[in-house]
Amino acid sequence: MAELQGLPLQGDDDAVVIANVRAGDSSAFGVIVARYRTQFGRYAVRMLGNREDAEEALQDAFVRAFRSLETCEDPAKFGSWFFRILANRCRTAGARRGRRDRTFVRDEIALTDASEEHPAERDAWREEIERALKLLDDDQREAFLLKHVEELGYEEMSELTGVGVSALKMRVKRACERLRSMLQEVQGV
């Protein structure tokens, strides 16, 4: 199964690109967008559960990042800085959406690579995973995604989210317990 590597929190030449943007070459920001769209796009889709909201949040985050680029103190770590903007946009979008019911699961499956085969059983399993993920609290979902999908360490997660390590561990633990509880029966484990 094709997997995407974790969040690109540092880019080798981000500082150079950002220096160009700051010097007035706004089109250079396209390099940043192209570089970060895929992995941060996945995070946004997983957090918000559908592509429409995810793209809105991601676009908003990119525009906000561009407009406040002067406040990025360490351009070499643009990814980390950008993630904090995106995470806030995702939280805002999630709060705005509130408890609005969305049947995003099938749409989400349609977002995967078309060249990949989707046997019915695999689709059903994916639907269950997406459904269970959706049922997690936002904080738990965020912590779970950062830990188990983006494969960040707890110190790094703490730096990104501003939440203490022990609290993050608890969120991940509870997220795992809830996911396990919801999915074990489905999987027949």
């Binding site: 997997e3 390099v31 676009q59 990119f62 690579d113």
Partner: protein, 199 residues
């Protein structure tokens, strides 16, 4: 490391969630369009602020100008009654030149017609930054000779665009200048000048 981090089920869930997702094909272009608009707004605001020297009676102008400029930048699209039969973009001298008064400056909208010969197409629309790359917002009208046309009113400037045919196929204008975008994707270029209308 706690036991939940070694859980086979959790690993399987994680593996599923690591699959890449696919964003809209025009996502990058949409972002850059929003950024360019944002950039222009900032630049215009700074310029207006510079013009409104301390003590000037124009201290309130920047806000008004920004609002009016934003309105101008919203660009109106109209269907033209006068249609070019040329197969490429063609300038149409407007009988009445529309003007948007920004309070401090006058933005003259130029009326331009895009035309493309696609006799077998079922639908054609224009995708550009001025419509958020949404062809449904700028549908072209089929003419009896197989040309599809649309007349737009735009402020002077340079615009990248593409045609979207049958709702799913993008193409550049075969007879217009083209450029590589910052994403390596070719776009046609429409240049609207203040007086000549279009080059």
């Amino acid at each position: 490391m706690s036991d939940h981090e070694h859980d086979a089920l959790i690993n399987e869930i994680s593996s599923e969630l690591k699959r890449p997702v696919r964003l809209s094909e025009n996502f990058d272009a949409r972002v850059m369009s929003a950024i360019r608009t944002s950039h222009l707004t900032v630049v215009r605001g700074e310029r207006d602020a510079a013009r409104a020297a301390p003590g000037s009676r124009r201290l309130l102008v920047p806000a008004i100008a920004s609002l009016a400029a934003a309105a101008a930048f919203a660009f109106f699209m109209i269907r033209g009654s006068e249609v070019s039969t040329d197969q490429t973009i063609a300038a149409v001298a407007p009988p009445i030149t529309p003007v948007v008064n920004t309070g401090e400056e006058r933005v003259v909208l130029q009326e331009v017609t895009l035309s493309v010969y696609l006799p077998k197409a079922k639908s054609v629309g224009v995708m550009a930054a001025f419509n958020d790359w949404d062809a449904t917002r700028s549908p072209m009208k089929r003419q009896s000779d197989g040309n599809w046309t649309i007349t737009l009113r735009l402020p002077p400037g340079s615009y990248e665009y593409q045609f979207l045919t049958n709702g799913n196929t993008r193409m550049t204008d075969p007879l217009a200048p083209a450029t590589d975008s910052e994403f390596g994707e070719a776009n046609s270029v429409l240049t609207v000048t203040p007086r000549q209308g279009i080059q």
